[in-house]
């Protein structure tokens, strides 16, 4: 019999290392809304919402309406005055309201907004780990102990029995059973076989 060559142990490690490096690069880079080399006005406009009530929920950078154009002009003046993007955003927000900021600041109560999804995913991950531990341990337990510690798992035939007995089966009604018990028995057997398949 021909044996498959064993995978070289170095390759998976190398692969894992490479993947880690890629993820490290990812973590080291903040998420930009665009990688393009931006003009300062565009850079600021991507951090602000459109002030126009009619252009609901749009970013300032993606709107050409009158109020958006006016705000962009104001930003351009501030850019020319030598303010940084953060300073301009802070100034605009101070003048016009916190709602113009496209994303809540990562501080105070708003930190909850940023962190909660990840906290819940981490908690869910822990829950899955705990579940898997229980489930894997449950599978390793010898069958006899399972019988001793709880009721024996019923077969599908047993599970079906009460329901079949209690319910008038649509395709074979009790009256049909009275009329032709043999046919009813055969049909019941057939249905049980189908369910167990």
């Amino acid at each position: 019999m021909r044996r498959r060559p064993a995978p070289r142990p170095g390759v998976p490690r190398l692969a894992a290392l490479g993947l880690l490096l890629l993820l490290g690069m990812l973590a080291a880079n903040p998420v930009p809304t665009s990688a393009a080399p931006q003009t300062s006005v565009e850079e600021v406009a991507r951090q602000l919402m459109d002030p126009c009530e009619n252009c609901k929920g749009k970013l300032l950078s993606s709107c050409d309406c009158g109020p958006a154009a006016t705000l962009k002009q104001e930003i351009a003046q501030k850019v020319e005055a030598g303010l940084t993007a953060d300073e301009i955003v802070a100034a605009v927000v101070a003048e016009r309201g916190e709602w113009l900021r496209a994303a809540p600041p990562k501080s105070g109560f708003n930190l909850l907004g940023w962190l909660l999804p990840f906290v819940l995913i981490a908690a869910g991950g822990f829950g899955i780990w705990a579940f898997l531990r229980t489930a894997v341990a449950g599978a390793k337990e010898p069958r006899t102990s399972a019988v001793q510690s709880g009721p024996r798992p019923a077969s599908s035939r047993e599970l079906l029995r009460p329901a079949v007995e209690a319910a008038p089966v649509v395709s074979a009604t009790p009256s049909a059973a009275n009329e032709d018990p043999e046919r009813y028995r055969k049909q019941l057997e057939e249905e049980l076989r189908r369910m167990e398949r």
Partner: protein
């Protein structure tokens, strides 16, 4: 005909109420006659609601502008398709449309399952009818498309200009079919809970309906993106708008349910979890409508707002209490033996997939409602826009993408570290090579690089799975590659159709990654002047004016060239709709597989001497649309009726 529509829809509402009573009676007393009558009630609802929906369309077509709804959403000059589409262009019509689709969907389901047992089906029918009755009730009593004005206007106001786009004729029906479709799995789940038949029977009944709903919802989301891209003129297709989020959340939860259902079908585990998932998915469809209608959260997509949102809130609360109450009542029957052979198994990867999908779903929900929470807690109005969602959802999306490659390779039941190493070596190495090559080619954006690498990894796993399957078929039956591929789909329709869906998602992610390289800028040009933009020359040639009935079109002719080579003439437009007195942009796009050159006309001089433009270079956008098509095609493959095994064997 039009009045008939009102009467039949009202009759359908009362028939739905009667049907609920009959279904409950049938369930409680195990009466077949009542069960049959309840089933007929669903079919009657579908019939009468169809007449109602047809009546509104008929009113649009004949121009009965005394009907306020027809006046507000159509006019004489609108093309036929938009007149039909106007049925769902406003609140009352869209609610009727929803009720109509739901009634028709439900009647098909009850007819398909007419030979099934009463115990599960009767409460399932009651559930379907409760939802139908709610929608028909809102149409009958709260938001009627049959309200008449005291006079007859000569013409209508016309459909919202933004909605006058071919995608809007298909996009809302697709979304509604998705929303409506998830009612059926939910109904079967409620049937199982009420009857106590908590085995996998309800899941088997739900399977096809879940996949239909999921496919339509996915198609609806993609089409919505297409509409936003070509109609809203901001250069992108997804802005994490609340209405987009509302359609995206049930899709995420539905995806989790479809995966998780497989574990219950195979192992009999996760019974409670599947009940919870299907309930969440359905509730999210109602929640989405609540968001759209209530006006609580502002959106560029919500064209129909009123106090009706509060009816939806009440209905949502009722459904939550009823569904979770039933789950709690049946928790003992739903508890199942928790047995898994190994930490490393397909089952575990599905659990992780569920975690990430639901985590993503929660993140989207949280971001959507956080402005309200923050305002309530701090008294300060804040916005949660694309920068928030991008930062939260990109890592989640990448984790999901990675799992999509891992899951199919891990065997069911158990695997070992050594086995996993063997399975993953080649895909991981190839993905790293792809990443390294891209790095060498100058792709230095970290997220894009990681996305492309993971896409390569998943692609390799999918191709490997197909190659393995084809090889196995060839060696067992000696057939050719194409025949083996066909047999693979015929025998493992769900599995291989699923891989095609995964392939579509990979292609979509390639499109997402392209967004990292978007360039945009703006400029004002005199006639004959040119603008240099990232290697392209845009020359403004002239302004063209076109007066049509109902709309004044102004378009700019712009020649796009690269170096000395002319590439295309683009005609971005600004259209003024006279009746509604609204201005709408029509963007012009030069699209290739590499990039989209996307041009929006801004202000212009009336004499045509100058015009301002907003220009975007959007790389790889076409992959997003193409991936969407592949994904929907995969869904159709899963649903397509294939020859049975016996037929194949012969």
């Amino acid at each position: 005909m039009i009045q008939l529509g009102y009467y039949t829809t009202t009759a359908a509402f009362f028939i739905a109420l009667l049907g609920i009573g009959l279904a409950i009676f049938a369930s409680a007393k195990k009466r077949n006659d009542a069960y049959e009558a309840a089933r007929n009630a669903v079919v009657a609802c579908a019939f009468f609601t169809t007449i109602g929906a047809v009546a509104v369309v008929y009113a649009m077509l004949v121009g009965d502008y005394q009907l306020e709804y027809v006046w507000a959403h159509s006019d004489r000059d609108m093309p036929l398709l938009y007149k039909i589409g106007a049925l769902w262009g406003g609140q009352a019509g869209s609610l009727l449309f929803w009720g109509f689709l739901l009634a028709v969907y439900s009647s098909i389901a009850v007819m398909r399952h007419r030979k099934d047992r009463l115990e599960l089906m009767a409460p399932a029918i009651a559930t379907m009818l409760v939802v139908i009755a709610f929608f028909l009730g809102t149409v009958t009593f709260a938001s009627s498309p049959w309200d008449r004005a005291s006079f007859i206007p000569p013409d209508g106001r016309g459909l919202n200009p933004l909605l006058q786009h071919p995608a809007m004729v298909i996009h809302p029906p697709c979304l509604y079919l998705g929303f409506v479709g998830f009612t059926l799995p939910f109904a079967f789940a409620m049937g199982a809970l009420v009857s106590g038949r908590t085995d996998a029977e309800w899941l088997k009944k739900s399977r096809v309906w879940s996949i239909i709903a999921w496919t339509f919802l996915g198609a609806g989301n993609i089409l919505g993106g297409r509409w936003a891209y070509v109609e809203l003129g901001w250069g992108g297709y997804w802005a994490w708008d609340p209405v987009e989020n509302a359609a995206f959340m049930p899709w995420l939860a539905g995806t989790a349910f479809i995966h998780s259902a497989m574990i219950q079908e195979r192992k009999g585990m996760l019974k409670i979890w599947n009940m919870v998932l299907v309930t969440i998915t359905f509730l999210l469809t109602i929640f989405g409508t609540f968001i759209t209608r209530s006006g609580l959260i502002s959106s560029v997509h919500s064209f129909a707002q009123s106090s009706i949102g509060y009816y939806f809130a009440g209905f949502l609360i009722f459904l939550m209490i009823a569904a979770f109450g039933l789950i709690l009542m049946r928790r003992k029957e739903l508890s199942s033996a928790q047995q898994l052979d190994s930490f490393f198994s397909r089952e575990s990867s599905f659990l992780l997939n569920n975690l990430i999908l639901l985590g993503g779903c929660f993140a989207v929900l949280w971001g959507t409602i956080f402005p309200m929470i923050s305002e309530a807690a701090q008294g300060v109005r804040i916005s949660v826009g694309p920068p928030f969602f991008n930062q939260i959802m990109i890592p989640i999306g990448l984790a999901l993408l990675l799992l999509m490659g891992v899951g199919p390779l891990v065997p069911w039941r158990r695997s070992s570290i050594a086995g996993l190493k063997k399975l993953f070596s080649i895909p991981v190495v190839l993905a790293l090579i792809a990443g390294a090559l891209l790095l060498l080619l100058g792709v230095s954006h970290a997220y894009a690089l990681v996305t492309f690498s993971i896409c390569a990894f998943v692609l390799v796993t999918i191709v490997t799975e197909f190659a393995r399957g084809i090889r196995a078929r060839q060696s067992s039956s000696g057939t050719g590659v194409l025949r083996s591929l066909f047999d693979l789909f015929a025998k493992g329709q769900r599995r291989y159709g699923g891989y095609v869906i995964h392939l579509g998602v990979v292609i979509i992610f390639v499109g997402f990654a392209g967004a990292a390289f978007t360039r945009d800028g703006e400029g004002t040009l005199r006639r004959g002047e040119s603008l240099e933009f990232h290697g392209y020359t845009l020359t403004f040639r002239e302004l063209l004016q076109n007066k049509l009935p109902g709309v004044d079109e102004v378009s700019a002719e712009v020649m796009v060239s690269k170096g000395q080579t002319p590439l295309a003439f683009l005609y971005p437009q600004k259209n003024f709709f006279k009746k509604s007195e609204q201005l709408a942009s029509e963007v012009a796009i030069h699209s290739t597989w590499g990039y989209d050159l996307y041009l929006v006309l801004g202000d212009y001089a009336d004499d045509g001497g100058s015009a301002s433009f907003k220009v975007y270079v959007n790389p790889l956008v076409r992959y997003f649309w193409f991936g969407g098509i592949v994904m929907v095609f995969g869904g159709l493959l899963v649903l397509w009726p294939m020859p049975r095994r016996g037929a194949l064997a012969t």
